[in-house]
Symmetry: C2
Subunit: 196 residues, 2 copies
DNA sequence: CACGCTATTGCACCCAGTGCAATAGCGTGC
DNA sequence: GCACGCTATTGCACTGGGTGCAATAGCGTG
């Protein structure tokens, strides 16, 4: 049973982790994900290949770790929203945390281009966002009226919101990052919720 | 540039493909995806490991090829729907093709359990369904009122519908396959579209 | 300063995936 | 029936991701 890490160790570990991820992403963006070996990443970071696996489960994680963190951020923000707020409003408010993340639009664009340019990264991306559902759904469920299918409903709403964000993101990239992401998100949400 | 395959060759190829996939899935379900090597699959199918790669791009595809076919089936059904039908109604009708597929509920359950039990398969599953968007969205777009964001809207609707199907699928598994999948799908769609 | 814990590393290994070149097998034209 | 050509199959060698293990280095604490 692993002892609780001392805050110091835990802290340095997370700093190292994000440094490694940044190094890796720069390399991936420069040379392509498949054309970059873990040996090269390790060399660029000044550590051994073996040690990379102490920080990341696999090569994909090197590129995608930030997505998990974003999910955690959004979930944390979602948990802070007033309990009686409409679930769609709460979700939208929570998504705003994405605009506060320390990342230039160029860096964001580069990152997403990297994601979309590789099959296994796209797959990993899709899966990470699917994991977001598991975080969001429990926070949404209490906001729904009582029903014997409330769990399913909460999961559907979480998934749909994430999906709208994803569609908005794709469109945002297609437009070269020149528009407001949340505007596109609103358009997407209206599209699915408007009566037809 | 690849010449058009003779129908005969093409046909035998697709038969062999599905035989191989079935063999592989049985093995995966029995021993677990990660604990099954491609050597074992090849041996069970009576061919060489190398030849497996003539039929499938990678190990994942061995397990997931049926998903691509399902996507094609749904898209084909969607294309047949009357042009003036509401897009949600058309999608729902298209999804009904899933119930006509030759697969026992037990087999379906086993397959989905396999999917959900492994990270890379879950990721591949998510990605395949994301590819469904690319198939469905162009068929949905003409059904929407004119707008400068119709492409985004169509993608959002396609993605949301797929997501509802996915949520319904998970719930269906959770309930042991004892309910009607489309009922759950309807519940999910109502959940996201109902005004709050 | 010495001890203990953990991070780091090297090494040997397994397996997925690929390029290449040899071969086997099938269908076609003669 | 026979020889030719095309493609599928296969073996082989190799790259690179990922893991288990055991030795070592380095940091924090008493």
């Amino acid at each position: 049973m692993p002892q609780k890490l001392t805050p110091l160790r835990e802290q340095t570990r997370s700093v190292v982790r994000s440094l490694l991820a940044r190094t890796a992403i720069d390399l991936f963006a420069a040379k392509g994900f498949d054309n970059t070996t873990l040996d090269e990443v390790a060399a660029a970071a000044g550590i051994s290949r073996r040690t990379l696996f102490n920080y990341f489960r696999n090569k994909e994680d090197l590129a995608l770790s930030s997505l998990s963190e974003q999910g955690d951020l959004i979930a944390a923000r979602l948990a802070e929203r007033p309990a009686d707020e409409d679930c769609w409003a709460a979700l939208r408010a929570a998504f705003q945390v994405l605009e506060e993340i320390d990342m230039t639009p160029e860096g964001r664009l580069e990152f997403i281009t990297l994601l979309f340019g590789n099959d296994s990264l796209r797959a990993g991306h899709a899966e990470k966002q699917a994991r977001w559902q598991d975080l969001f759904a429990p926070l949404i469920e209490p906001r729904l009226p009582a029903s014997d299918r409330r769990t399913l409903q909460a999961r559907a709403i979480a998934a749909a919101a994430i999906t709208c964000l994803q569609a908005a993101n794709e469109e945002w990239v297609r437009l070269g990052g020149k528009v407001d992401l949340l505007d596109l998100y609103d358009t997407a949400v209206q599209a699915i919720r408007r009566p037809t």
